[in-house]
Protein backbone atom coordinates (compact mmCIF):
# COMPACT_ATOMS: atom_id res chain seq x y z
CA UNK A 1 0.00 0.00 0.00
CA UNK A 2 1.38 3.38 -0.86
CA UNK A 3 1.02 6.36 1.41
CA UNK A 4 -1.97 7.74 -0.43
CA UNK A 5 -3.87 4.47 -0.14
CA UNK A 6 -3.03 4.27 3.54
CA UNK A 7 -4.48 7.72 4.19
CA UNK A 8 -7.60 6.77 2.25
CA UNK A 9 -7.92 3.60 4.26
CA UNK A 10 -7.61 5.39 7.59
CA UNK A 11 -10.19 8.00 6.58
CA UNK A 12 -12.58 5.20 5.60
CA UNK A 13 -12.07 3.61 9.02
CA UNK A 14 -12.65 6.91 10.75
CA UNK A 15 -15.90 7.45 8.84
CA UNK A 16 -17.12 3.92 9.58
CA UNK A 17 -16.23 4.21 13.22
CA UNK A 18 -18.01 7.56 13.51
CA UNK A 19 -21.09 6.10 11.81
CA UNK A 20 -21.02 3.11 14.17
CA UNK A 21 -20.99 5.45 17.16
CA UNK A 22 -23.74 7.61 15.66
CA UNK A 23 -26.01 4.68 14.73
CA UNK A 24 -25.66 3.15 18.18
CA UNK A 25 -26.76 6.38 19.88
CA UNK A 26 -29.56 7.01 17.40
CA UNK A 27 -31.10 3.55 17.55
CA UNK A 28 -31.05 3.33 21.35
CA UNK A 29 -32.44 6.86 21.46
CA UNK A 30 -35.24 5.85 19.09
CA UNK A 31 -36.03 2.78 21.19
CA UNK A 32 -36.07 4.68 24.47
CA UNK A 33 -38.27 7.36 22.96
CA UNK A 34 -41.01 4.74 22.68
CA UNK A 35 -41.39 5.15 26.45
CA UNK A 36 -42.43 8.78 26.04
CA UNK A 37 -45.80 9.09 27.86
CA UNK A 38 -45.70 5.36 28.70
CA UNK A 39 -43.21 5.36 31.61
CA UNK A 40 -44.22 3.65 34.87
CA UNK A 41 -44.43 6.99 36.70
CA UNK A 42 -44.10 10.56 35.51
CA UNK A 43 -40.59 11.22 36.93
CA UNK A 44 -39.16 8.10 35.32
CA UNK A 45 -40.93 8.77 32.06
CA UNK A 46 -39.14 12.13 32.08
CA UNK A 47 -35.85 10.49 33.06
CA UNK A 48 -35.78 7.95 30.23
CA UNK A 49 -36.78 10.58 27.67
CA UNK A 50 -34.10 12.95 28.99
CA UNK A 51 -31.58 10.18 28.45
CA UNK A 52 -33.02 9.76 24.97
CA UNK A 53 -32.44 13.41 24.28
CA UNK A 54 -28.78 13.10 25.30
CA UNK A 55 -28.38 10.07 23.03
CA UNK A 56 -29.97 11.81 20.06
CA UNK A 57 -27.72 14.81 20.69
CA UNK A 58 -24.66 12.58 20.77
CA UNK A 59 -25.85 10.87 17.57
CA UNK A 60 -26.19 14.27 15.88
CA UNK A 61 -22.65 15.24 16.83
CA UNK A 62 -21.31 12.00 15.38
CA UNK A 63 -23.44 12.22 12.21
CA UNK A 64 -22.43 15.82 11.60
CA UNK A 65 -18.80 14.82 11.84
CA UNK A 66 -19.25 11.77 9.59
CA UNK A 67 -21.04 13.94 7.02
CA UNK A 68 -18.22 16.48 7.10
CA UNK A 69 -15.66 13.75 6.47
CA UNK A 70 -17.72 12.25 3.65
CA UNK A 71 -18.06 15.61 1.95
CA UNK A 72 -14.42 16.56 2.40
CA UNK A 73 -12.64 13.33 1.64
CA UNK A 74 -15.03 11.23 -0.44
CA UNK A 75 -16.78 14.03 -2.32
CA UNK A 76 -20.13 12.57 -1.30
CA UNK A 77 -23.22 14.58 -0.61
CA UNK A 78 -24.08 13.84 2.97
CA UNK A 79 -25.69 15.61 5.90
CA UNK A 80 -26.62 14.41 9.37
CA UNK A 81 -30.14 13.92 8.01
CA UNK A 82 -29.26 11.86 4.95
CA UNK A 83 -27.11 9.61 7.15
CA UNK A 84 -29.89 9.02 9.66
CA UNK A 85 -32.84 8.93 7.30
CA UNK A 86 -31.62 7.50 4.02
CA UNK A 87 -29.36 4.56 4.81
CA UNK A 88 -30.61 0.98 4.76
CA UNK A 89 -30.41 -1.66 7.51
CA UNK A 90 -27.28 -3.27 6.13
CA UNK A 91 -25.55 0.11 6.22
CA UNK A 92 -26.35 0.66 9.90
CA UNK A 93 -23.53 -0.30 12.23
CA UNK A 94 -25.22 0.01 15.62
CA UNK A 95 -24.73 -2.51 18.41
CA UNK A 96 -27.44 -5.18 18.37
CA UNK A 97 -28.42 -4.58 21.99
CA UNK A 98 -29.70 -1.12 21.03
CA UNK A 99 -32.22 -2.37 18.50
CA UNK A 100 -33.85 -5.04 20.68
CA UNK A 101 -37.43 -4.27 21.69
CA UNK A 102 -37.79 -2.42 25.00
CA UNK A 103 -39.64 -5.23 26.76
CA UNK A 104 -40.72 -4.29 30.27
CA UNK A 105 -39.20 -1.58 32.48
CA UNK A 106 -36.69 -4.05 33.97
CA UNK A 107 -35.43 -4.98 30.50
CA UNK A 108 -35.17 -1.32 29.46
CA UNK A 109 -33.31 -0.41 32.66
CA UNK A 110 -30.88 -3.29 32.43
CA UNK A 111 -30.05 -2.53 28.81
CA UNK A 112 -29.43 1.11 29.71
CA UNK A 113 -27.18 0.04 32.57
CA UNK A 114 -25.15 -2.40 30.43
CA UNK A 115 -24.89 0.12 27.63
CA UNK A 116 -24.16 3.29 29.61
CA UNK A 117 -21.54 1.53 31.72
CA UNK A 118 -19.84 0.51 28.49
CA UNK A 119 -20.31 3.92 26.91
CA UNK A 120 -18.58 5.73 29.78
CA UNK A 121 -15.54 3.46 29.44
CA UNK A 122 -15.57 3.89 25.67
CA UNK A 123 -15.78 7.69 25.93
CA UNK A 124 -12.98 7.73 28.49
CA UNK A 125 -10.77 5.96 25.96
CA UNK A 126 -12.05 8.14 23.13
CA UNK A 127 -11.28 11.32 25.04
CA UNK A 128 -7.58 10.51 24.44
CA UNK A 129 -8.17 9.96 20.71
CA UNK A 130 -5.76 11.64 18.32
CA UNK A 131 -8.79 12.73 16.38
CA UNK A 132 -9.71 16.10 17.89
CA UNK A 133 -13.41 15.96 17.05
CA UNK A 134 -13.98 12.44 18.40
CA UNK A 135 -12.15 13.47 21.54
CA UNK A 136 -14.29 16.61 21.87
CA UNK A 137 -17.53 14.66 21.46
CA UNK A 138 -16.35 12.08 24.02
CA UNK A 139 -15.44 14.68 26.64
CA UNK A 140 -18.74 16.46 26.10
CA UNK A 141 -20.82 13.27 26.23
CA UNK A 142 -19.18 11.63 29.19
CA UNK A 143 -20.65 14.18 31.57
CA UNK A 144 -24.14 13.22 30.46
CA UNK A 145 -23.46 9.51 30.37
CA UNK A 146 -22.23 9.53 33.98
CA UNK A 147 -25.75 10.53 34.99
CA UNK A 148 -27.19 7.69 32.89
CA UNK A 149 -24.98 5.17 34.69
CA UNK A 150 -25.94 6.50 38.10
CA UNK A 151 -29.63 6.46 37.32
CA UNK A 152 -29.71 3.01 35.70
CA UNK A 153 -27.46 1.45 38.39
CA UNK A 154 -29.86 2.63 41.06
CA UNK A 155 -32.79 1.13 39.22
CA UNK A 156 -31.04 -2.22 38.69
CA UNK A 157 -30.42 -2.37 42.45
CA UNK A 158 -33.91 -1.19 43.33
CA UNK A 159 -35.57 -3.81 41.14
CA UNK A 160 -33.09 -6.66 41.65
CA UNK A 161 -33.19 -6.31 45.41
CA UNK A 162 -36.87 -5.38 45.41
CA UNK A 163 -40.02 -7.49 45.44
CA UNK A 164 -40.33 -11.09 44.26
CA UNK A 165 -41.88 -9.87 41.03
CA UNK A 166 -39.34 -7.13 40.31
CA UNK A 167 -36.53 -9.60 40.99
CA UNK A 168 -38.04 -12.17 38.63
CA UNK A 169 -38.32 -9.52 35.94
CA UNK A 170 -34.70 -8.51 36.41
CA UNK A 171 -33.56 -12.13 36.16
CA UNK A 172 -35.55 -12.51 32.94
CA UNK A 173 -33.94 -9.34 31.62
CA UNK A 174 -30.45 -10.66 32.41
CA UNK A 175 -31.26 -13.91 30.57
CA UNK A 176 -32.59 -11.94 27.64
CA UNK A 177 -29.80 -9.38 27.25
CA UNK A 178 -26.59 -11.03 28.40
CA UNK A 179 -25.79 -12.62 25.05
CA UNK A 180 -25.74 -9.20 23.40
CA UNK A 181 -23.13 -7.72 25.74
CA UNK A 182 -20.23 -9.63 24.16
CA UNK A 183 -20.44 -7.46 21.07
CA UNK A 184 -19.24 -4.41 23.02
CA UNK A 185 -15.79 -5.98 23.18
CA UNK A 186 -15.47 -7.60 19.76
CA UNK A 187 -13.54 -5.07 17.70
CA UNK A 188 -14.59 -4.27 14.16
CA UNK A 189 -11.84 -3.65 11.62
CA UNK A 190 -12.61 0.04 11.49
CA UNK A 191 -12.37 0.59 15.24
CA UNK A 192 -9.34 2.48 16.43
CA UNK A 193 -10.37 2.31 20.08
CA UNK A 194 -9.21 -0.90 21.70
CA UNK A 195 -12.56 -2.15 23.02
CA UNK A 196 -11.07 -5.45 24.21
CA UNK A 197 -9.30 -3.51 26.93
CA UNK A 198 -12.59 -2.25 28.35
CA UNK A 199 -14.03 -5.66 29.17
CA UNK A 200 -12.44 -6.18 32.58
CA UNK A 201 -13.48 -2.76 33.85
CA UNK A 202 -16.99 -3.24 32.52
CA UNK A 203 -17.39 -6.63 34.18
CA UNK A 204 -16.10 -5.23 37.44
CA UNK A 205 -18.65 -2.42 37.47
CA UNK A 206 -21.48 -4.79 36.48
CA UNK A 207 -20.45 -7.15 39.26
CA UNK A 208 -20.46 -4.36 41.86
CA UNK A 209 -23.98 -3.35 40.96
CA UNK A 210 -25.21 -6.93 40.55
CA UNK A 211 -23.88 -7.81 44.00
CA UNK A 212 -25.89 -4.96 45.49
CA UNK A 213 -28.88 -6.01 43.43
CA UNK A 214 -28.53 -9.66 44.49
CA UNK A 215 -28.32 -10.66 40.83
CA UNK A 216 -25.93 -13.20 39.35
CA UNK A 217 -23.75 -12.70 36.30
CA UNK A 218 -24.46 -15.59 33.89
CA UNK A 219 -21.82 -18.19 33.14
CA UNK A 220 -19.96 -17.84 29.92
CA UNK A 221 -22.23 -18.62 27.01
CA UNK A 222 -22.81 -17.85 23.36
CA UNK A 223 -22.42 -14.18 22.47
CA UNK A 224 -24.26 -12.77 19.47
CA UNK A 225 -22.52 -10.19 17.31
CA UNK A 226 -22.84 -8.72 13.82
CA UNK A 227 -24.37 -5.29 14.34
CA UNK A 228 -21.09 -3.43 13.93
CA UNK A 229 -20.77 -4.97 10.48
CA UNK A 230 -24.36 -4.43 9.39
CA UNK A 231 -25.82 -7.88 10.16
CA UNK A 232 -28.85 -7.10 12.29
CA UNK A 233 -31.78 -8.74 14.02
CA UNK A 234 -35.15 -8.49 12.30
CA UNK A 235 -36.05 -5.63 14.65
CA UNK A 236 -33.90 -2.98 13.00
CA UNK A 237 -35.93 -2.93 9.78
CA UNK A 238 -39.07 -2.13 11.73
CA UNK A 239 -37.35 0.68 13.64
CA UNK A 240 -36.02 2.21 10.44
CA UNK A 241 -39.34 2.00 8.65
CA UNK A 242 -40.86 4.11 11.41
CA UNK A 243 -37.84 6.41 11.83
CA UNK A 244 -37.36 7.02 8.10
CA UNK A 245 -40.96 6.92 6.89
CA UNK A 246 -41.45 10.66 6.52
CA UNK A 247 -38.23 11.28 4.59
CA UNK A 248 -38.83 8.29 2.34
CA UNK A 249 -42.39 9.32 1.50
CA UNK A 250 -41.81 13.07 1.39
CA UNK A 251 -38.13 13.47 0.47
CA UNK A 252 -36.59 16.63 1.88
CA UNK A 253 -39.57 17.45 4.11
CA UNK A 254 -38.72 19.92 6.86
CA UNK A 255 -40.48 21.07 10.01
Amino acid sequence: MNQHQQINESIKCLIDQTLHLADTCLILGQRNSEWCAHGPILEQDIAITNITLDLIGQARNFYQYAAKLLVEYEQKQATEDTLAYLRTEREFKNLLICELPNGDWANTILRQFFFSTFQVLLFEEMSHSKDAQLSAIAIKSIKETNYHVKWSSEWVIRLGDGTAESKERMINAVDNLWMYTGEFFIPAKYETIDVVLLKEKWLQKVKEVFDEATLIIPDKGFMQSGGKLGAHTEHLGFILSELQYLQRVHPGAEW
Binding site: L53, G57, N61, I137, K140, S141, K143, K150, S153
Partner: protein, 204 residues
Protein backbone atom coordinates in the same frame (compact mmCIF):
# COMPACT_ATOMS: atom_id res chain seq x y z
CA UNK B 1 -21.99 60.53 30.94
CA UNK B 2 -23.75 58.13 33.33
CA UNK B 3 -23.31 54.51 32.47
CA UNK B 4 -26.28 52.73 31.00
CA UNK B 5 -27.66 49.62 32.67
CA UNK B 6 -26.29 47.54 29.84
CA UNK B 7 -22.81 48.99 30.26
CA UNK B 8 -22.90 48.30 33.97
CA UNK B 9 -23.91 44.76 33.30
CA UNK B 10 -21.13 44.36 30.81
CA UNK B 11 -18.67 45.31 33.51
CA UNK B 12 -20.10 42.62 35.72
CA UNK B 13 -19.50 40.08 32.97
CA UNK B 14 -15.94 41.24 32.62
CA UNK B 15 -15.37 40.74 36.30
CA UNK B 16 -17.17 37.45 36.73
CA UNK B 17 -15.52 35.65 33.91
CA UNK B 18 -14.38 35.92 30.38
CA UNK B 19 -16.09 32.77 29.23
CA UNK B 20 -17.64 34.63 26.35
CA UNK B 21 -14.33 35.17 24.63
CA UNK B 22 -12.38 32.47 22.86
CA UNK B 23 -8.90 31.61 24.07
CA UNK B 24 -7.53 33.52 21.14
CA UNK B 25 -9.45 36.58 22.18
CA UNK B 26 -8.23 36.29 25.73
CA UNK B 27 -4.64 36.12 24.64
CA UNK B 28 -5.02 38.85 22.12
CA UNK B 29 -3.47 42.19 22.97
CA UNK B 30 -5.60 44.69 21.22
CA UNK B 31 -3.18 46.85 19.32
CA UNK B 32 -4.22 50.19 17.87
CA UNK B 33 -5.03 48.70 14.51
CA UNK B 34 -7.37 46.21 16.19
CA UNK B 35 -9.34 48.93 17.88
CA UNK B 36 -12.23 49.00 15.47
CA UNK B 37 -12.58 45.26 15.97
CA UNK B 38 -12.59 45.61 19.71
CA UNK B 39 -15.36 48.16 19.54
CA UNK B 40 -17.42 45.89 17.34
CA UNK B 41 -16.99 43.06 19.80
CA UNK B 42 -18.10 45.19 22.70
CA UNK B 43 -21.10 46.37 20.80
CA UNK B 44 -21.99 42.81 19.90
CA UNK B 45 -21.61 41.71 23.50
CA UNK B 46 -24.16 44.32 24.49
CA UNK B 47 -26.53 43.01 21.85
CA UNK B 48 -25.99 39.37 22.82
CA UNK B 49 -26.98 40.24 26.37
CA UNK B 50 -30.48 40.61 25.01
CA UNK B 51 -30.58 37.10 23.59
CA UNK B 52 -32.10 34.79 26.16
CA UNK B 53 -32.30 31.09 26.74
CA UNK B 54 -35.76 30.22 25.35
CA UNK B 55 -36.36 27.71 28.16
CA UNK B 56 -35.17 29.99 30.98
CA UNK B 57 -35.92 33.48 29.65
CA UNK B 58 -34.32 35.29 32.61
CA UNK B 59 -30.89 34.05 31.56
CA UNK B 60 -29.05 35.65 28.69
CA UNK B 61 -26.73 33.48 26.64
CA UNK B 62 -23.84 35.38 28.25
CA UNK B 63 -25.13 34.48 31.72
CA UNK B 64 -25.17 30.85 30.63
CA UNK B 65 -21.60 31.07 29.36
CA UNK B 66 -22.33 29.47 26.01
CA UNK B 67 -20.92 32.25 23.82
CA UNK B 68 -17.37 31.15 23.05
CA UNK B 69 -16.23 33.58 20.42
CA UNK B 70 -17.09 36.70 18.46
CA UNK B 71 -15.19 37.00 15.22
CA UNK B 72 -15.69 39.97 12.93
CA UNK B 73 -14.36 39.29 9.42
CA UNK B 74 -14.89 42.13 6.96
CA UNK B 75 -18.61 42.78 6.98
CA UNK B 76 -19.46 39.37 8.39
CA UNK B 77 -19.75 38.44 12.05
CA UNK B 78 -19.24 34.92 13.27
CA UNK B 79 -20.61 33.99 16.67
CA UNK B 80 -19.37 30.74 18.15
CA UNK B 81 -21.57 29.03 20.70
CA UNK B 82 -21.30 25.75 22.57
CA UNK B 83 -24.20 23.53 23.65
CA UNK B 84 -24.92 22.99 27.34
CA UNK B 85 -25.94 19.37 26.78
CA UNK B 86 -25.40 17.43 23.53
CA UNK B 87 -29.11 17.16 22.88
CA UNK B 88 -30.15 20.61 24.07
CA UNK B 89 -33.11 21.44 21.80
CA UNK B 90 -32.70 25.15 22.54
CA UNK B 91 -29.50 25.44 20.48
CA UNK B 92 -31.19 25.85 17.11
CA UNK B 93 -33.61 28.40 18.55
CA UNK B 94 -30.73 30.30 20.15
CA UNK B 95 -28.83 30.41 16.85
CA UNK B 96 -31.88 31.90 15.12
CA UNK B 97 -32.41 34.41 17.95
CA UNK B 98 -28.77 35.53 17.72
CA UNK B 99 -29.14 36.16 13.99
CA UNK B 100 -32.43 38.00 14.35
CA UNK B 101 -31.17 40.19 17.17
CA UNK B 102 -28.01 41.14 15.28
CA UNK B 103 -29.98 41.86 12.12
CA UNK B 104 -32.17 44.16 14.18
CA UNK B 105 -29.01 46.15 14.97
CA UNK B 106 -27.89 46.29 11.36
CA UNK B 107 -25.50 43.34 11.18
CA UNK B 108 -26.71 41.65 8.05
CA UNK B 109 -24.18 38.90 7.54
CA UNK B 110 -24.19 36.75 10.64
CA UNK B 111 -22.92 33.24 10.91
CA UNK B 112 -23.47 31.13 14.00
CA UNK B 113 -21.19 28.16 14.42
CA UNK B 114 -20.84 25.55 17.10
CA UNK B 115 -17.92 24.24 19.05
CA UNK B 116 -17.86 21.27 21.41
CA UNK B 117 -14.46 21.80 22.95
CA UNK B 118 -13.82 22.75 25.65
CA UNK B 119 -17.02 21.19 26.94
CA UNK B 120 -19.46 23.55 28.62
CA UNK B 121 -19.61 23.48 32.38
CA UNK B 122 -21.93 25.15 34.88
CA UNK B 123 -18.91 26.93 36.32
CA UNK B 124 -19.02 29.19 33.25
CA UNK B 125 -22.36 30.50 34.38
CA UNK B 126 -21.92 34.03 35.70
CA UNK B 127 -22.63 34.97 39.30
CA UNK B 128 -25.20 37.37 37.91
CA UNK B 129 -26.80 34.46 36.06
CA UNK B 130 -26.93 32.34 39.19
CA UNK B 131 -28.65 35.13 41.10
CA UNK B 132 -31.16 35.62 38.31
CA UNK B 133 -31.94 31.89 38.38
CA UNK B 134 -32.59 31.99 42.10
CA UNK B 135 -34.93 34.96 41.78
CA UNK B 136 -36.74 33.11 39.00
CA UNK B 137 -37.39 30.15 41.33
CA UNK B 138 -34.73 27.76 40.04
CA UNK B 139 -31.96 26.71 42.43
CA UNK B 140 -28.62 27.55 40.79
CA UNK B 141 -25.79 24.99 40.57
CA UNK B 142 -24.10 24.71 43.95
CA UNK B 143 -20.58 26.12 43.65
CA UNK B 144 -19.19 23.85 46.31
CA UNK B 145 -20.42 20.69 44.64
CA UNK B 146 -19.53 21.91 41.19
CA UNK B 147 -15.85 21.15 41.34
CA UNK B 148 -15.81 17.46 41.95
CA UNK B 149 -19.35 16.22 41.73
CA UNK B 150 -18.87 14.87 38.23
CA UNK B 151 -15.83 12.89 39.25
CA UNK B 152 -17.46 11.38 42.28
CA UNK B 153 -20.81 10.82 40.71
CA UNK B 154 -20.59 7.09 40.28
CA UNK B 155 -19.55 6.47 43.82
CA UNK B 156 -22.67 8.24 44.89
CA UNK B 157 -25.39 5.70 44.21
CA UNK B 158 -28.61 6.64 45.98
CA UNK B 159 -26.97 9.85 47.14
CA UNK B 160 -27.65 13.32 45.92
CA UNK B 161 -25.98 16.69 45.71
CA UNK B 162 -25.94 18.25 49.14
CA UNK B 163 -26.94 21.66 50.41
CA UNK B 164 -29.29 22.53 47.61
CA UNK B 165 -31.09 25.64 48.74
CA UNK B 166 -34.81 26.05 48.27
CA UNK B 167 -35.29 29.18 46.12
CA UNK B 168 -38.53 29.99 47.97
CA UNK B 169 -37.67 29.76 51.68
CA UNK B 170 -33.85 29.30 51.45
CA UNK B 171 -33.87 26.16 53.57
CA UNK B 172 -31.22 23.59 52.67
CA UNK B 173 -33.42 20.87 54.13
CA UNK B 174 -34.28 19.59 50.66
CA UNK B 175 -34.67 16.28 48.93
CA UNK B 176 -34.05 15.00 45.39
CA UNK B 177 -37.25 13.81 43.73
CA UNK B 178 -35.78 13.00 40.34
CA UNK B 179 -32.34 13.34 38.78
CA UNK B 180 -33.99 14.35 35.52
CA UNK B 181 -36.31 17.33 35.48
CA UNK B 182 -38.23 19.49 33.05
CA UNK B 183 -35.14 19.96 30.85
CA UNK B 184 -31.86 18.06 30.48
CA UNK B 185 -30.00 20.55 32.66
CA UNK B 186 -32.31 20.39 35.65
CA UNK B 187 -33.18 17.97 38.45
CA UNK B 188 -36.38 18.02 40.47
CA UNK B 189 -36.10 18.71 44.21
CA UNK B 190 -38.54 19.31 46.99
CA UNK B 191 -38.15 21.54 50.03
CA UNK B 192 -38.86 19.58 53.20
CA UNK B 193 -39.62 22.76 55.16
CA UNK B 194 -41.96 24.75 52.92
CA UNK B 195 -42.90 21.63 50.91
CA UNK B 196 -42.54 23.40 47.55
CA UNK B 197 -41.12 21.32 44.73
CA UNK B 198 -38.51 23.19 42.68
CA UNK B 199 -36.11 22.82 39.76
CA UNK B 200 -32.39 22.60 40.46
CA UNK B 201 -29.93 23.51 37.71
CA UNK B 202 -27.54 20.61 38.25
CA UNK B 203 -23.78 20.70 38.22
CA UNK B 204 -22.27 19.79 34.92
Amino acid sequence: MPKSEAQKELEVYRKTGDAYLSNEDKNMNFSKSDKPNKNIKEEILLILQQVCDPEIPVLSILDLGIVRGIIPIDDEIEIIITPTYSGCPAMDAIAIDIKLKLIEYGYKKVKVSYTLSPAWTTSWMTLEGKNKLKQYGIAPPNDKNEKDFQKRINNLLFKEEENIECPQCHSTHTNLLSQFGSTACKALYQCLDCREPFDYFKCH
